[in-house]
Assembly symmetry: D2
Homo-oligomer: 430 residues x 4
């Protein structure tokens, strides 16, 4: 495997952390043992967890007001893959990359070769009909899959079909479809007509899916449309996925809901109805803030994984949602945010695995709300950090990915190697 | 028909308003004519509009902190019917009453006779499994249709079946099922298990429905449960109604949604999927505030009726949602609030009828968002008050229902006739 | 005055609308007279109302996902003034322009001459420390007035002082200071330290104010910062304005509040405490959506003006808040949106003037909530459109500004006259 | 001290937990030592933490829909004190009781003697003008301190003055004033007039404060008023506290804010401006849900204490906010909820003490958002449970308060000793 960071540096870093890690791991092992829990089973489980890197996440994000680029940003998909390789090498929890077209368009064979060299695979591919591209025949200003114009709809459908073709060449097995289509004014859309056109367009994409592919419908309450968004909530997403057929699933982005929404209940509902396709993990306080996963409400992230653990127990191997980060890194080094966010998601996964499900069920059946709640909290409060660190070290990754990354001075190297192009941004998010 | 208010008094009131009404009506007729609209068609349409009175609405409502009863409150279902008769007589837009059991339990034949005497009919009946009743075998403290206890579920199912029987005897054609079941703590419920039990219970109720009845599922985001409510959103309601069968529909209470939710889009979605059963009209600023319809956001109420007009145009006579007020009158005379709220709903209905749908479609198809929005606003801004007044006067109701009601001193009479029982409340809402 | 649209065309348009306007105006005059209201007084009042055009509003806005430019967008401040002149000519309710620096930097004398030629004046000026400009010494990526770096703070303070100098040369009398400073992560800022630095910086700007100037502090709940914004709410704005002194006031943007916030009460509070400086009018459903004023919740806009009318009655001539639109026109022609939004604000102003304040007080003192509410609704429901149209026609503006603007084909002319520059945007909002 | 639970039972319980506690405590001590932290200092700090029990919290709460009482509820203030004694004995973190008048009215000397017998003191007293009491001269239906009626205002002011007198006799040092006054309809109140009357009334209460007392103003966004609440937000509370004088402070209830509000920033603001009086701790997901502290968003609770630790460091001994729980226990045993909630608050306090403030400042000054955030998370993720348990055991309380309480069968005893009175509730919350 082509390593971007010098493995000797990683080994040296880990050697420096070793004594403390072993001591902490042993201390935690003892505490867990006194609760009847085997730490090794959890560490092994932590090592099996994986989520995908969004290719656009390695560039600095921004808002409608401004974007403040960081140094050494990747300027093309090959440089993005290089950054992903760093993440994979140091955190060993994000072994795949999710590409976004046309941002990441390139020769599939070359992309595949580069990725394999880094030990990376390709996860879901993403289409983009929320922006106009240079030279595009028709504008998406007034919608894409829902447009009143048949020509616009055809263009948008064809783009999705093209994405499937690219994805097949890359070894991907799914297409995520997010459209920002909607209205800024009451009356701008016939709300029902817009969804009818969406379904007509989506059916054409669905028909183009290979047998072993899934189509993931992503809903979002608002932005870029500010009065009504065609696929605004899980109810609409679920109804559409049902109308399309068994290969259509719903994708949950944690930031795409109304204030106060109980997101873990949406997860439970979609799992129950067989339509939970996957996740875009991030965190938020106000709207679709795209902050680092677990940075604002880590207990909510745990509760989501608690539902996923329940579903996995009920549905077994058939239950395999796709996990991905989807964040906008406006004030941090994107590589650092992606690594530490991935660890946060992995942490929630391991904490959820710690829940004593038999005890939980026992308390639930007796209406013992207090002890049921404490059963969850007991698992959540456990500091599983040593487990995550040990899982990384055993896999050859860094004990402290961010510290090791800083020690490697990768960003400083790229600052010199990747001078910014005038007037251009390496990130798709502007 | 037994009139509660002296008809001579109504006639006298109307005589006093006549000259001004005629002048205003003529002025509006001219303005509409210059827009190509026939006022008489609108007035006729206004007269056909009807919505149901909630029997519990004629008592003073309250909050968990306090209830401040008003004078002369009805102390039993017969007195509630008397108050409903006043509303019907003066506003002539609420010809039916929706009863809530066991609050309104009584001899069906006597109830029917009393109602018919007043010219009133019975609309949907409502079950109550969110409170414990004296002498009840099992408590609903930890749920009703979703309870872990089979005995509790059976009791709750049987109560709903009893409500159907009572409703049949009254001439009703539908049952509204709202359960507050949910959890106050993460972990208290297995979220998926609770919905499975709900569906099992609901199927038993569904099976008891007469052929010409519908079952209305009402969702609510929160309260009385504050962490997770089993039927919390339209997505869950829709999925359950679909699972149950064609006689199950969804009921939309305007106050039961997350902040910022686009409710008119939910209306459009349920109409599109054939599951829009009916409405509980009210208004709110924060939560399920149960304020008077149209008092906080009258434009939203209009936009809801704009969707209903669209659905009626598309689906024709098959589209017949059930309309009802559901409000908590904490600081006003309930009779006054019900009359004026009913007029607000009727106003939105007439304004929506004024929308130039051909022009709207024209603008929508050309992506002319500004003119599409103005087309709605043009209808909404029209002061249709003279139409509503004329519709009432022609039907024998009062030009100004509140003024006429005050002139009749009905409340003052009831203050004497209905002394409060010690420690008791005439309203189910405490 | 230099007219951009041919006055003969406006006259012709008005001639075509005249008969209908007169008939509608007479009909409304009669209706108002029967309520004891003199229409002429209202029309005169409508003519006195004015609000400022934001220079950035004449360009097409966008979101962080995309901007879809319209044809013929202004490419510099002179072209922006030309568009403002069209708005002023056709709607006659926006006689001033609010500039944003450095976007609108230019020779003040030339700007003033151009504006005066169009009959336009200059309202408040706005500083910009939320974006980096080419060639800027220090970046605002981590804050401006609150930065940990003294050099950054000095640069930001100096920019504000420069804006004051530019404003003086233009005849402006106030500076609006909005900073997006804040944090995306818990811990990123010491919340108290950030406000201390803000106050230190703001004091330096305050000291540079001319005697007859005011400084307007604008708060905003979130965006671009997504965890904590230093000036996030009216409480912080009020505390800072108090700390700074009598020339510091608070500016209320209708879209900058938490969900469910009662904005009209904030208006009442700031008026009571003598700190209500002015408004950025727009509308929103979710966050800072910057939609057209009155397009989502017109009753709220009326309630805001109801408070303003109350304050004007209490405080007399001393009460002179600054009014401005601040909207992002993403899917409409910005000139059309600005004209129709200004009319919406004017409409709310006239409706609030219609409120029978003596009757309102009477009902309030008797705790007659229903009639108090109806007193407001009675004014709000009045279709004052003919008054607004007559006010325009009498002032030489267009009866229907949008129809007249379309008939003039101004946008089509500018499409040819202002070809877009490659890679550039005429709007500051990207 | 009069112990309610047999001390031998507590000792036996603790003996059973001892070995595991010691092992866990030692393991944690080692982990902390490797981070340079002395566990004993933290344990000592945990032992110094205290918060008050709300007397009304020991009864079962409810909603406007229903209250489902639990067995053995206290029926008077003496029985409430007995329950508080159990909490104090087993958790040793709630040594004081906050009484609510007139619910808890009684002979002060007898109350004081009973409390002292249990080792309990009295914290802030609370007035109640949001309910009508039997035999009361004037109703609060339309407001109390803000009423249009001078007689109502006088009655409400006098009640507060009476509460101060009762509080003095009990040894309390402060009065919390929460009024639900507000409006359910736009127009019902003159928003500014209502606050003027509030300030007039509040000044009379303020003048009656003893020299060493503080008056705590509690704001609340909504409920029981659903359109506008007079003291709705921290801005109004702060402005009123400033207007009243130095003995007036602001009290923050975590559930009394708009959705998405950053509460820890409000804490920082009030601390900065010298007006942070104290807290009502609880948790919520939707509105004022009054759930158990830390049960929904434990990280937010930690962030609040992070601000309190910052303020304590800045302001030293002068910074002494009053801490209290204020929860509604609808589905749990209130004693269990109060004990476990108090431990949650104490947990957040100890976690905040673990924050490395020098490192935090270091990262903040370098704009290292990621490491600043991780510095907080590092402290938050530490499972300080063994510290809290050890603090209890050393103080003679129970290692596991809930388990020990259940073993003592206190509730079962009270079920027999306190049969419910017909038609009555032992709780003030109905």
């Amino acid at each position: 495997m082509n390593t971007v960071i010098n493995p000797a540096l990683v080994a040296e870093h880990n050697a420096g952390e070793r004594a403390r890690l072993d001591a902490d791991y042993d201390a935690l092992a003892g505490m867990l043992q006194r609760r009847g829990v085997d730490i090794e089973a959890l560490t092994a489980q932590a090592q099996r967890f994986a989520l995908a890197i969004p290719s656009w996440g390695v560039g600095t994000g921004g808002t409608r007001f401004a974007r403040f680029p960081g140094p050494g940003e990747p300027r093309n998909v090959m440089e993005k893959l290089e950054d992903c390789a760093v993440i994979h090498q140091l955190a060993r929890v994000m072994p795949t990359v999710s590409l976004h077209f046309p941002w990441d368009a390139g020769d599939p064979a070359a992309l595949r070769q580069a990725a394999e060299g880094y030990g990376l695979g390709f996860d879901l591919v993403n289409s983009n009909t929320f922006q106009d591209q240079a030279g595009q025949a028709h504008s998406y200003k007034f919608g894409s899959l829902t447009s009143h114009s048949a020509a616009v709809r055809e263009q948008a459908v064809q783009h999705n079909i093209d994405c499937i073709a690219l994805g097949r060449a890359l070894g991907s097995k799914g297409l995520t479809v997010w459209v920002g289509d909607g209205a800024n004014f009451p009356g701008q859309h016939n709300l029902r007509g817009a969804l009818e056109r969406y379904l007509d367009s989506a059916r054409l994409i669905y028909q183009a899916l290979p047998d072993d592919w899934l189509m993931y419908i992503e809903h979002k309450l608002f932005e870029p449309a500010f009065y009504a968004t065609t696929i605004a909530d899980w109810g609409t997403s679920y109804a559409c996925a049902t109308a399309l057929g068994p290969k259509a699933k719903c994708l949950v982005d944690l930031g795409h809901h109304a204030p106060n929404t109980n997101i873990e209940m949406i997860v439970a509902r979609l799992a129950q109805f067989g339509k939970l396709g996957g996740f875009h993990f991030n965190d938020s306080k106000y709207g679709d803030d795209d902050l680092d996963a677990g940075s604002i409400d880590p207990f909510q992230l745990f509760l989501v994984f608690n539902e996923l653990a329940d579903a996995a127990q009920r549905d077994g191997a058939a239950f395999r949602p796709a996990y991905m980060l989807d964040q906008s890194h406006n004030v941090t080094d994107p590589i650092e945010s992606l690594m530490s966010s991935a660890v946060e998601v992995q942490r929630a996964y391991v904490q959820a695995a710690l829940v004593d499900r038999a005890a939980l069920r026992h308390h639930q059946e007796r209406n013992d709300a207090l002890q049921a709640a404490q059963t969850l909290k007991h698992a959540y409060r456990t500091d599983v950090g040593p487990i995550l660190t040990m899982a990384r070290v055993r896999a050859g990754a860094a004990a402290d990915p961010v510290a090791c990354y800083r020690a490697a001075a990768y960003r400083e190297q790229q600052r010199r190697a990747r001078p910014p192009r005038a007037g251009a941004s390496g990130s798709g998010i502007v």
